[in-house]
Symmetry: C2
Subunit: 297 residues, 2 copies
């Protein structure tokens, strides 16, 4: 029986969407505007790659992924908060994301800021609340919360975003570019994979392997994001070349398209070697890693 | 020996400031700008009332407050994040806070948004990391994290802030005003007190009493904040009457100054009754509650 990746992605996306639907307050709750704004961005057609990675990593060690589902949703909430804030006029000033007007375009800047803020809070709150009921050892839940915090905060995503803004329209070298990509996008992707292992009770050596794997696919993912900004198709939901227009620090701008794609593929090839220790169990994560560099949107 | 509240507040503030100093990355860390912005707002002369309440509540049950210190600092980080974001041009558009230019005035809007975002992340990350080392049962740490999340997110502070913005320059009734105050400020103050109890291993009845106490002093605190906006002294660090100018929903605007002060005092009188069960141990919290309505800045 061959593994149908598209079918797998679709069915996992449905499970995650259902869980998010359940974890977020209804759009009719008072004050309605904030709940509508939160839901607008969470359900705007994301591929759910990060939560899918988390669940796949958990399944390396455990047959039933359900105890990890709230954590997968929390990860997606953190990702969504970061997108809402990144799009703000003071940041990247983007009017469209995934083919739809961005949060501040629909709800105004104040509500967009608060919707991002709230999604971050709810992510941590959800992990603590559901973690207590999940049957997962509470020490492991705390370690997962810490790991997500580390990847999203001053040692991760926020610092990447700071440097991304700092380098816009300015000179940068490969080291600075790598810092941006590893922090802005890479850290959260690495955390996705590592948290799956932490929650499943993986040993330290397995966690190190997952971390090395995640580190490389995280960087490869952002390099491909840069590449797709130049040669993606309409499914990206935003105008091509927008990084170029904003004079963003990107791999294609520094190394050219071919070298960038080559670099992403090399990273994925390196990454999957770290999965060898998991044997057949590692094949799903391996397919997901390859998908990251072969996707067209 | 009589209890010197001013001395107590000062010595607790020093302990909390020292701990915050230790928990935040140094200002020289790369990328420097974000660490400078975070520190600028955290060390801008806050009174540390929320963390002081948390520690006092913990001390109802335990002789040494140190295990609760990281949680007290996390609370202050959440409070600081909310101030940075509240001051943004898209929100309250304030140029000064505590007599100093606000974060976006000094660092620009993008960095101010990111500094607020990062402080929120670091707060949760800190509780998880230090909670694991604190010797406090991990279930209680998780419950404390959940409690803080609940008070800061969609069921608390964020929704209060949404309605605060919504009602600016518009008509409002007492019920709506109470919603704003209970959520915007009250929820985090109530959580301060409750989290102290949770971490100390308080029983459910004690937690209910702390929650009722916190609920009332939280509302009283915000009513007095409204009052002080009209009659405070220069130690407030911002121009008097700024709520009035912005047509904010406030107690004095709806009920007048005298009735508002009366309401705050009544709430504190009700609140301290819930401390009776703790006997002499409750006296510090009782003094703190009275201080909230007697302060002049």
């Amino acid at each position: 029986m061959s593994f149908d990746l598209q079918e797998y992605l679709q069915s996992r996306k449905e499970v995650i969407d259902q869980a998010l639907e359940q974890y977020l307050p209804p759009a009719e709750r008072y004050p309605e505007k904030i709940h509508q704004a939160v839901r607008y961005s969470v359900f705007s057609g994301g591929k759910r790659l990060r939560p899918i990675l988390l669940l796949a990593s958990y399944e390396l060690f455990k047959p039933d992924f359900h105890p990890a589902l709230p954590f997968a949703c929390a990860l997606e909430m953190i990702h969504t908060y970061s997108l809402i804030h990144d799009d703000l006029p003071a940041m990247d000033d983007d009017d469209f994301r995934r083919g739809k007007p961005t949060s501040h375009k629909v709800f105004g800047e104040a509500i967009a800021i608060l919707a991002g803020d709230a999604l971050q809070t709810e992510a941590f709150s959800l992990m603590a609340r559901e973690g207590l009921k999940s049957g997962i050892e509470p020490e492991r839940v705390l370690r997962a919360i810490f790991e997500l915090g580390e990847s999203a905060g001053l040692n991760g995503m926020v610092s990447g975003q700071v440097m991304d803004l700092e380098k816009q329209g300015r000179e940068y070298n490969l080291e600075e570019l790598e810092f941006i990509h590893r922090h802005k996008t890479g850290a959260l992707i690495r955390a996705s994979v590592k948290i799956g292992g932490i929650l499943a009770g993986a040993g330290e050596e397995d966690l190190t392997a997952l971390s090395e794997f995640g580190e490389r696919i995280g960087l490869a993912f952002q390099i491909m994001d840069d590449v797709l900004d130049l040669k993606g198709d309409e499914r990206l939901g935003k105008p091509l070349g927008s990084d170029l227009k904003k004079e963003k620090a990107t791999y294609p701008a520094l190394l050219g398209l071919n070298k960038s794609e080559g670099q992403a593929k090399k990273l994925v090839a390196e990454a999957v070697k770290f999965l060898e220790r998991f044997g057949e169990q590692g094949e799903v994560l391996c397919s997901l890693a390859r998908f990251l560099v072969e996707r067209e949107y």
